[in-house]
Structures are given as C-alpha cells and as structure tokens.
Symmetry: C2
Subunit: 271 residues, 2 copies
Amino acid sequence: MNARDALSPDAGSTDASPPDVSPPALTEPVEDYLKAIYELESRFGVAATSDVASALDVAPASVTGMVRRLATQGYLDHVPYRGVQLTPRGRQAALRTIRRHRILESYLTRVLGYPWDRVHDEAERLEHAASDDLIERMAAALGHPTADPHGAPIPTVDGIVDEQPHRTLAELPVGETARMLRVSDKNPSLLRYLAEIALQPGAEVTMVSRAPFDGPLTLRIGKNEPVVGPNLAAQVLVEAMPSTGPRPADASGSHTAAAAAKPKSRKSTAR
Amino acid sequence: MNARDALSPDAGSTDASPPDVSPPALTEPVEDYLKAIYELESRFGVAATSDVASALDVAPASVTGMVRRLATQGYLDHVPYRGVQLTPRGRQAALRTIRRHRILESYLTRVLGYPWDRVHDEAERLEHAASDDLIERMAAALGHPTADPHGAPIPTVDGIVDEQPHRTLAELPVGETARMLRVSDKNPSLLRYLAEIALQPGAEVTMVSRAPFDGPLTLRIGKNEPVVGPNLAAQVLVEAMPSTGPRPADASGSHTAAAAAKPKSRKSTAR
DNA sequence: TCAAAAAGTTAGCCGCTCCTAAATTTGGTG
DNA sequence: CACCAAATTTAGGAGCGGCTAACTTTTTGA
C-alpha cells in the first residue's frame, strides 16, 4: 500500500530549510497532537481523525479543529476526509518531543528507580516542561542511551531515529529463539506482567509450542515456560537470533539510533 | 502597620485541616498565583493586586479576575481594593508548590550539576508537571534536604515550613562576622556574582568597613575582600555568629531588634 | 482640605482547546 | 446503483486566562 504518498503530490520533497534555531514554543496540546500523529503516521501511513481522537482521548471534532490550525501553521498537510501527514517541520517537532519522552523514561528508570510500567505517565507530563538543557544533562548522565527502557529508539537531537520494522513474538516459529527488543510503554498492566515473566528488552525467548487456531503460546525464558495469549505476543517485538547454530548474518541490526552517517538528506523521517 | 489582620477576623488561625488526600488538581496558572500570593503575603501581610500582577507579569485586571475565581473556590479571601490573603486551603496548596520547587532546585543543583543561577526557571516549569512520587523520590535521593541551594527552607509534605525572619547582610555591624543563610533564587546575575565572591549559604562573611551615606560595604569572605553595594547586601540574609575573637558578648540586643519572640510561623521581612 | 495620582475593578473582547449536535462525505453492499 | 453506516467536518458554544479601556476607590501631597 502506498498510503504514504496519499496526501501530497510532492510527498518526497526535502526541506532545505536553514537551521531553525528557535522553534516557536509549542503548547502542550500541540506537542501531544504532533506526537500522536507521528506515531499513527509511522504505523499506517496517514493519521485518521478518529485515531488521533482516541489516542488523545478527545472528540473527533476537536481533532478537526486542531488539525486545521496546525495545517495553516505548516506542521502538517490535511486533506479533508482523507487524513493528515506531518510536514518535515511537524515531524521535527514530533521527534523532539519523542526524544524528550524517551530520555525521561530512561532517566526515571535508571536513576530514580521507577518501575518500567510507571514511567510513561510521568514522562508524558515532564516532556512538555523540561528544557533542552535538562534533557541533555539527563542523557549525558546516562551515557547517551540509544533506547528507552521499553526498547524504543531515542531520536537524536537532529531528529534522526532508526525505527525499523520488527517481527512480533507472535510470528516466531516454533523451536526458534529470538531476542526481545521492544514493547509499547502505554500499557502498565501488560508491562507488569512482562516483568514478571522476565520478558524484557535483551531477554532471550524461545517459542516452545503453539496451540492451534490462534491458541496460547508456550515460551521459554530462562528456566521458565510461561504460556501467553497470541494477543500479548503480538505486542512484543523481537529480533531473530542465530538460533542455536546457523544464521550468523545480521548482527548489526540493533535497535540503537544510527549515527549521522548520511552527508546529505538529514531528513528526520522514521520510515 | 498590622496588615496581617487587615482582611479576615481570624487571620492568625493555624490550619488544623484533616488530611486532604486528593487536592483537586490545580492548573498551572492557579498554582502560580497561589505561590506568588503566598510569598507576597509572608512579606507584606497581604498581597496587593499590582504586586501579584508584576510578580506574575500579567495585567492587574487579570489578577482581579483570577482572584475572584480563587476566592469563590475557597483558596483565598479578597476584600476589594484592600488585597488578598490565602485561606488555610490556599496556603496548603501554595506550600505544596513551594516544596516541589525547592526540592527540584536542590536536585538539579546537586545531582545534575546545574549552576545555582539557572535552577529557578527550570524548577518553575517542572514544579507543575512532576508527580508527588517523583518529588519524593528526588527528596529521598538527596537525603531529604531541609533547604534549597539558595538557603530557602523546604516545607514538609504536611506544609510546615520554618520561615524565620533573618537579618540582612546590610545590617551587619562593622567588625562582626555572620554566616550567609539565604538569597532569592530569582536574580541570575546577582547569583552569578555572589558565586564569584563565594558568598553562598554557609559562607562566613565579615563586615570590614562601611562607607558613609549608604555607600559601598567592604566584606571579608575567606581571603578576599569584595566591595559591594548596600543594595546587594540588603538581599543577602545572614545569621549572627558567635563571633570569634573581637566583639564581646553583645549578641542579644545590639541593633534592629528583629522580633524573635513570636511562636508563630511566617512573618514579614522589611522592604 | 481637596484635587490629582495611584491602585483596583468592571466591561468587553480575544485566542486556545475542548464540547455536543447537526450536516456532509466516503465506502461498502444489497 | 442507490442507500446505509461509519467517518469526518461544520456550527455553535463553554471555560480559562489573558488583554485594553474606562470607571471607581484610595492615597497622597500641595
């Protein structure tokens, strides 16, 4: 599906804008909209009004209104009844907020001892209040982490992020082993359960068996063999591992943010 | 002037409020108003509309409007044309914000290496966003500090704070030595200068000489003898020290007898 | 003492972000 | 192909927090 190009004829245009030194201080709701739209867009290609509405827990009509304003301000393109897509400017703003969020989550977990199921809400509020200086101090204190506690990659200050598509645990064939990479930070009870069965980023997990008709999956994590529903497994992203022998190939595919390799198109896209 | 009792007949009442478990989630502007009013009230007895306006950098008419709303909600008492005073409820809310602010300042300084002239603005924004949990984690990480980096006392979770009236450095007689206690956190360039001459909380400072007609003061701090204006000295709060050597035991009633008698808490400082 | 200045309030308005209710458009499907 | 359901937008409005301009009250000082 080419949903990506659905909205703007010149979708691939690069922005040759000069270094925009002082972004115009977005309000908290605006940052939330841009972040939500970024996330929907990277999942579905375009963000639908009703999806944005439910992500932000507001009425669809409110989204339409906000979207119109953000479009006139150049943060996104809106084709009525079709959806929205961020402009480079909007994407840059979204990635700045996401960087803050993920650094905050990392700091709260690693320095202040927050459990990983409670950092989301806290970061959600702090991300709008913390200065760039504070965020960078936190990042430095952590040794500039490249992923948050849930395995989500942290965009660089320049808005570069390496959001690769990953397989889910649900797709792991029986008998194979994978490394747990990432899970959404938004579901506390899921996170608490995952911590309980030690299914956290970096963990090795083996698919022991799979009941038919989308039935429960038996895993092996360390010495335990938890049984989980396919629904849960579909939310856990994993990376194939050299399964007890062959397949040594793609070792470099970590979930860390790429170093700024490209000389030219410093596009902040997360494809 | 007995401005303290000007507004309400029971002005001096302590609040023996029962444990108010869930405060109704104040907005950011409301927290700012209550905090500003608290500070003005503890300096002048009542908070004047125009003082609140300039503290918050809004128009006086805006203050009148907000004050009316806060009065109907029970946070303060307003006597038109006379000023406002916090109710116990309003004071509790103000002290909660102040506790957050001061713990944040302490954390930023001691853990994240912020210079003391830059913590105010950062704390000003974070104090509205941080959860109680986060604040208490920071406090615990610091060993539950009782004063912030500028020497301001940190209220307890129950809203108890020890705001004693202190003498200013400007009042220190020639030849006497005092311990620097506190300075406002709101003036970055002043703070930078004080750091330069090592006049920070805990430092010992001696009044070497005093030029006539409100002229410059010569201090001794360590090995240096900085010369400062009376205006600066009036902003620095100090505590008399059992002066080593010179100045016999005249400690009690020397000059400017600041009333230390009252068992009450917050009281005014001169302007 | 009393008029002018200062301080405070009222009136009326604006922008932001949200809402509900009523159109309108889109995408199936019988 | 026409009609329905779902998605979306428009219309109209509310509350908050801010503003300016005009008016009222208090304070000041000649």
